[in-house]
């Protein structure tokens, strides 16, 4: 894995005088320039986005709390904190719900389902990725929320002593848990599809060796498939998390979000997410309010940056063990 890039183009011994072509071929030069050029272009695009964000957010970040307060928005950091919390909290629950299911589905498709069916089953799961977020929003408010409301009521009545399920159960079902379920369904196909590819890449020999030692199917998976695919799985989960953190429309439509910090999952008083809050307020915003909302976008940006950095650390630690060779 780490040494994929070190392959020398021509293998010549050091003692042999170089034949005719130690110089790089034209095709190679063009190709490598093209690829590094597009990498560079990405940096430029991102710099442009970041510059825009920073410049636009700057007035809200530096203006004094009093200025913001007179406009009725409150001091910036205490204002944005509940939304940042809501973003992380809802995405966390989405991951808790989606990751085991996704890995299960990926294993089912790659290692359990009849081989002839596998492709079709994978396709069925990918269908979920075909559903636009607006439709998830519609489905979440119109179908899922009313359907889950009695379950929440039940959980609240009988398990209400657990702080997570405490408080006063929502009368409409548009709770943080519902939003997390919708988010989980939305990130499921992404995680599943990547995990599937990763699990399929497990060397056949590793698996056959485990089976030859008398391991059951699950033991084979535990010994050969999962460790091999760990880095890929973490990457897939992080990609899913990225989507969950930034999801706008579905959360905006499903969640009954307010400006609070609240760990409870079943009430109608939930922390809103940053992305949904921006979408809900941007159209009516003007003046410094726009700067404030963009600054909130910047906060979201920073959150994803931190989480992605952590993910990178995890991946680089595991990649030493996996290795394509």
């Amino acid at each position: 894995m780490t040494d994929t890039t070190t392959a020398p183009p021509v293998a010549t011994g050091p003692t042999v005088p170089p034949p005719q072509r130690p110089k790089r071929r034209l095709g190679d030069v063009i190709f490598s320039r093209l690829s590094s050029g597009s990498g560079f272009l990405i940096l430029i695009i991102l710099a442009a986005v970041a510059a825009f964000l920073l410049v636009q957010a700057f007035p809200a970040l530096v203006s004094s709390p009093e200025v913001l307060k007179t406009k009725g928005y409150g001091e910036f950091w205490s204002w944005v904190l509940p939304f940042a919390f809501g973003t992380v909290w809802s995405s966390l629950w989405a991951l808790i719900l989606a990751v085991p299911v996704s890995i299960g589905i990926a294993l089912f498709i790659t290692h359990y389902a009849p081989r002839r069916l596998a492709r079709t089953l994978g396709y069925i799961i990918d269908l979920l990725a075909a559903v636009p977020s607006v439709v998830f929003g519609l489905w979440g408010t119109m179908t899922l929320a009313p359907a889950t409301q009695p379950v929440y009521q039940w959980l609240n009545t009988y398990l209400g002593f657990i702080p997570l399920f405490g408080g006063e159960a929502s009368g409409t079902g548009r709770t943080l848990l519902t939003a997390a379920i919708v988010l989980a369904v939305m990130i499921l196909p992404i995680i599943t599809s990547l995990c599937r590819e990763v699990f399929l890449q497990t060397p056949r020999l590793h698996e056959e060796a485990a089976l030859a030692l008398g391991a059951t199917r699950w033991e084979t998976i535990k010994l050969a498939v999962l460790p091999y695919g760990r880095a890929g799985t973490v990457a897939a989960v992080m990609l899913g998390l990225g989507r969950a953190l930034g999801e706008t429309m579905a959360v905006a439509m499903v969640l009954s979000g307010n400006q609070v910090i609240n760990f409870r999952l079943l009430t109608s008083d939930n922390p809103n997410t940053v992305a949904a809050m921006i979408a809900q307020n941007f159209p009516e915003a003007s003046g410094i309010r726009i700067n404030e909302l963009i600054a909130a976008g910047l906060v979201l940006f920073v959150i994803t940056l931190i989480i992605n950095s952590i993910a990178r650390l995890i991946i680089s630690r595991y990649s030493e063990f996996s290795g394509a060779n």
Binding site: G72, G74, T141, M142, A145, P146, E168, S170, G171, T172, R174, A252, M253, L255, S256, G257, N258, Q259, V260, S268, D269, N272, A276, A279, Q280, N281, F282, P283, E284, A285, S286, R289, I290
Partner: protein, 359 residues
């Protein structure tokens, strides 16, 4: 790999080469009626969206050479879009305030011209409810404020019972639904609460829901209607045009309880005073929320235009389009399809004078 790229390129090329057309859109070569042509862009209030759709349809049918695009992005977007010159007219649920007005501040307007705020759309806001076994409900501002601030928690609270003799109210919890997005509807609703029950509703009016008051939040008018309809023992506030199938509370004005009506809302505007210190043709109002004999819980949207445009083509189209909107025909059309309250004939005349003065 090449195949993928090639097929994508092919798809794109195909999409481009197809002479896309829509069955209901005539080819532009046919002689246009009405003598006008061009594209007019407007942006703003989403409350006005349904009415704008109707007006655009009427206007485009009469003037086939014109395309009017209205983006219901929100009032803030409308004000900014008009100020920055992105659109030729804006639409906002409140007039420009004094600090936003000013000669030369507007990109589409001539250097020595100010903007005009013209009221063109009045719509009553209904307090809607969905309570088991209740089909009529009376509320006053103080009780409504109590419900929406969370002070009154159940339907059989003595304060609600006192206003509704003879109605059996359930002992159920109230789910009060408010807008999660920044909106003119919330702004007008909270203004009414604050004007009539300042001791209970202590926050000044604002387009965003005050963070101190919890409750169920839903996105947009459609979201509030859906939540109130799907939920149990719910109450919310929406534009009257969207409230068709829900119970509407009668609100207390003076000594009487009144249902939302178009006439009541129009009367409220007539009873309001114009904002002082504006040009003769600027028709910004400071709405009166307490006058008896009116329905004071209503929203007034303004068309934001220039007194004098830089480009004559903009002026011609805006005059024709806004002129139609404010005419008796335009108001009647919106009243029919969007259940808006038509401007009173006196106000119509004032707006007409203002539109005629646009250059």
């Amino acid at each position: 790999m090449k195949i993928t790229k090639a097929s994508l390129a092919l798809t794109a090329a195909l999409a481009l080469s197809l002479t896309a057309c829509a069955a209901n859109e005539g080819t532009k070569t046919t002689a246009s009626t009405g003598g006008l042509s061009g594209t007019l862009a407007g942006k703003g209030s989403s409350a006005m969206s349904a009415a704008q759709k109707q007006w655009i349809t009427d206007f485009q049918t009469k003037n086939t050479g014109v395309t009017v695009n209205y983006s219901p992005d929100g009032s803030g977007a409308g004000r900014d879009g008009f100020t920055s010159g992105a659109v030729a007219f804006g639409a906002s649920d409140r007039p420009f305030n004094d600090s936003e007005m000013g000669v030369g501040k507007f990109a589409k307007c001539a250097a020595d011209s100010n903007a005009l705020n013209l009221p063109v759309y009045i719509s009553p806001i209904a307090v809607v409810f969905n309570v088991t076994g209740v089909d009529k409900l009376n509320l006053d501002a103080a009780t409504t404020a109590g419900i929406f601030s969370g002070a009154i928690k159940t339907w059989n609270d003595p304060k609600i019972v006192a206003l509704n003799p003879g109605v059996t109210l359930p002992a159920a919890n109230i789910t009060a639904v408010h807008r999660s997005d920044d909106s003119g509807t919330t702004d007008n609703f909270t203004d009414w609460l604050n004007a009539n029950a300042a001791t209970v509703w202590t926050n000044a009016h604002s387009g965003t829901w005050p963070a101190a008051y919890a409750g169920e939040a839903a996105k947009g008018t459609a979201g509030v209607v859906d939540t109130v309809t799907k939920g149990q023992n719910t109450i919310g506030y929406v534009d009257d045009s969207a409230a068709a199938k829900l119970g509407k509370a009668s609100i207390k004005v003076g000594d009487a309880f009144v249902q939302p009506t178009a006439e009541g809302a129009a009367k409220m505007v007539d009873a309001s005073a114009q904002v002082a210190g504006r040009a003769a043709n600027d028709l910004a109002f400071k709405l009166s929320r307490t006058t008896a004999g009116t329905y004071p819980l209503a929203l007034v949207s303004y068309a934001l235009v220039c007194q004098q445009y830089k480009a004559a083509s903009d002026a011609t189209l805006v005059k024709a389009y806004i002129g139609y909107i404010a005419s008796a025909d335009g108001q009647a059309s919106a009243a029919k399809s969007a259940l808006a309250a038509p401007l009173s004939s006196a106000l119509q005349a004032k707006v007409k004078t203002a539109v005629d003065s646009i250059k």
